[in-house]
């Protein structure tokens, strides 16, 4: 028997449905349709691949919710997740961490917030040098470092 954890054997279909509803409650799709929901960026596969230490806890997380959760309206789902957040802060924190981690490296999401997908290097960023004449008032004011008797740098 394989000891690999895969999305196919980590959660059954009913649990997967709850998981998707859960992460979509955390990060729903944007109203302008620019931003996908969390389940659209496949948080489950990301956790299985990138967070193998956390993945075994997913069953316990989804089992905190019942089938009613999937069919509930947004307001009720938010209420149930808030209850879970209060009751299981560590599990909730882990789930939120990995959901955000996956979500904010997805190309659609990054483009939706005005960024270019992919690693920052070697593309880099342009930052304006800035207006150093803003220092004029600093120079005009009699700021000065604190003098120390007997130190020659104070005599310059």
């Amino acid at each position: 028997m394989s000891d690999l954890i895969a999305t196919d054997n980590l959660l059954n279909e009913a649990q997967k449905a709850i998981f998707e509803a859960l992460v979509d409650t955390l990060v729903p799709a944007g109203e302008d349709e620019l931003m996908p929901s969390a389940s659209e960026v496949d948080v489950l596969s990301y956790i299985v691949d990138s967070a193998p230490d956390f993945a075994p806890q997913l069953a316990a997380i989804v089992d905190s919710f019942n089938d009613e959760f999937v069919s509930s309206g947004e307001e009720r789902r938010v209420q149930l997740v808030q209850e879970f957040e209060q009751a299981q802060p560590e599990l909730f924190g882990g789930l939120l961490f990995h959901t955000y981690a996956r979500y904010y490296q997805d190309a659609r999401v990054l483009e939706g917030i005005g960024l270019t997908a992919g690693p920052p290097f070697p593309r880099g960023n342009t930052v304006e040098a800035g207006d150093l004449s803003l220092l004029d008032p600093v120079m005009e004011k009699s700021h000065g470092y604190r003098k120390v008797a007997g130190v020659s740098s104070d005599l310059r």
């Binding site: 955390l26 990060v27 961490f97 904010y104 005005g114 920052p120 803003l134 700021h143 120390v148 740098s153």
Partner: protein
């Protein structure tokens, strides 16, 4: 020493630690043509392993490139017991040491920082002055590649070798706030090259300097001092973890015992031993170096090894602006600074002062995560709106407080916790003083004031930050009196005349700013003094 120990023939100088100070002292001593070996417990870094090469670049700061060795948990790290401290020690172990993950904010200590007792009646004066270190500050700026702007009225004249890194919209915005208040500010001295320099290409404004610099624009010592030191003949051995400094019957250091990558115990003989392991690693090794002659640890007749630990308690205020500030672009920890409240004004209710370090924003993942923690970005239906208001719309001010030396703040050996080689781990006992608390409270209030003056529509603040024990100072302090200090005014142990300490342990007081520039200037000064006294080094 075990029966299976391998014995290596003597070297002239043995340096422990290849970080900020170890690299500087190795390079400076190299022109003596002595046989110099440096032992480093970590590895060389491969720039392609740094986070900004990867799509999931933001995640790495929470795992294998985390600043906290207890979180990072690499084989090359040693665990640290922080249970009795509100501030956790953070560091990096590898060639370059903590300069691999530092922010590279590079101010010097001020002239007044060396004379705290004389000026303010607290702590103790250093046995040297700013003047003593001034030529070494300048030499170090050239070697590291420091960007900045001459003319800061808060310092004696100095000339950074490279022009300042860009202010960007964050810097300009906060600067306008300072100008409204009539407060001092200046572009930060940064160990980040703003132009091509000494074969390195300039900073690309990637952002997260604290997960290593893929470009090599940030001046970590693996790409500044070490290539030159090695070309000049210094031998650098990685994966060598020192357990103790050994002594001969005359009470002189005669080498160290270390574990190599295969776990072999090696006794490396040496004529001179130089400790460069930072303010936690150095007392750890000295306290673990017990013998009949030195039952309380080496160089510890004063009892000061491991005492007077100083961090810089840190807090942050963050402002949200209506305007788009491109916050995530540019070196995150380097922009501008303010010394408006750096010096003592007793009407504020505390002595000494703090630096205000303006920092840029984070990437989207960290923005969302930190927004959840601070309550500014909820999960759920309001997430996207709140995120858009916050991301790239923030500027922050870090308050970095001078910590005064107190003997009860200590590094000792943990009775149970050990590293993977069985060497006792350091245990930190630290209490933040009332003076530091009042200072941080004052600083956060002033930071909020500055951000509001700059136009922030929403301001949050908090501190002390737990995972911010970057600056490890004072645990083997220098001084003229062997009864109250560990090393003399050029870093030589009072007790063991061929043992030198060149890292932040020897700070007498901490100043209120990032110490790496001063640590390295001290290392260069000590190396230069050793060279001038080679004929009678142990007199």
């Amino acid at each position: 020493m075990s029966d299976n120990s391998i014995s290596e023939g003597p070297v002239d100088v043995l340096i422990i630690g290849a970080g900020a100070s170890g690299a500087a002292v190795a390079w400076s001593l190299a022109d003596t043509r002595m046989k110099i070996v440096c032992l480093e417990q970590g590895d060389w870094m491969n720039p392609t392993d740094y986070a900004t090469n990867k799509t999931d670049w933001e995640v790495h700061q929470y795992s294998k490139l985390n600043i906290d060795p207890n979180v990072r948990g690499l084989e090359t790290d040693y665990p640290i017991n922080n249970d009795e401290s509100p501030i956790n020690v953070v560091n990096f172990n590898g060639v370059g040491g903590s300069t691999i993950l530092y922010a590279a904010h590079f101010p010097r200590l001020h002239p007044s920082d060396f004379k705290v007792k004389t000026l303010d009646g607290v702590a103790a004066d250093w046995p040297i002055s700013y003047d003593t270190l001034e030529p070494y500050f300048a030499q170090n700026d050239r070697m590291m590649g420091v960007s900045g702007l001459a003319g800061d009225p808060m310092y004696p004249p100095k000339q950074p070798p490279l022009p300042p890194i860009p202010l960007g919209l964050v810097g300009e915005t906060v600067a306008r706030g300072y100008n409204k208040l009539g407060w001092h500010w200046w572009p930060s001295d940064s160990a980040i090259i703003s132009q091509p320099y000494e074969g390195r290409d300039k900073c690309l404004n990637l952002g997260p300097c604290m997960t290593g610099c893929s470009q090599g624009g940030k001046s970590s010592t693996d790409i500044t001092y070490w290539p030159e030191a090695i070309r000049m003949g210094v031998e650098l051995r990685t994966r060598c973890r020192v357990r103790e400094v050994t002594v001969n019957e005359s009470g002189m250091a005669d080498g160290v015992i270390y574990y190599d990558a295969d776990g072999n115990e090696v006794h490396q003989k040496a004529e001179v031993v130089v400790m460069a392991c930072n303010g936690v690693g150095t007392p750890r090794i000295l306290l673990n170096s017990t013998s009949e002659q030195f039952p309380n640890g080496l160089a510890n007749s004063s009892g000061m090894v491991g005492k007077n630990l100083m961090f810089h308690p840190v807090g942050f205020a963050q402002g949200r602006f209506e305007e788009h500030l491109d916050s995530h672009k540019g070196p995150q920890g380097c922009c501008i600074l303010s010394k408006e409240f750096y010096e003592t004004d007793e009407s504020r209710g505390y002595v000494r002062g703090y630096n205000m370090q303006i920092t840029r924003g984070t990437g989207p993942f960290s923005t969302a995560l930190q927004g959840y923690a601070s309550g500014t970005i909820p999960w759920g239906p309001g997430h996207h709106d709140a995120f858009q208001k916050q991301f790239d719309h923030v500027a922050a001010i870090g308050i970095l407080c001078e910590d005064l030396p107190e003997e009860h703040n200590t590094v000792t050996l943990d009775p149970e916790l050990v590293d993977s080689d069985g060497i006792p781990s350091p245990k930190i006992n630290y209490t933040m003083s009332e003076n530091s608390r009042k200072m941080l409270e004052h600083g956060l209030a002033r930071a909020e004031e500055a951000l509001r003056a700059a136009g922030a529509v929403e301001v949050t603040s908090g501190g002390p930050v737990q995972a911010a024990g970057w600056h490890l100072l004072g645990t083997a302090r220098m001084g003229d009196d062997p009864a109250t200090s560990v090393v003399n005014n050029w870093g030589r142990s009072h007790d063991v005349k061929n043992l030198f300490i060149v890292d932040g342990s020897i700070f007498v007081t901490s100043g209120g700013l990032n110490p790496t520039s001063t640590i390295q200037a001290l290392a260069l000064y000590i190396a230069d003094t050793m060279k001038k006294n080679l004929a009678n080094l142990f007199d």
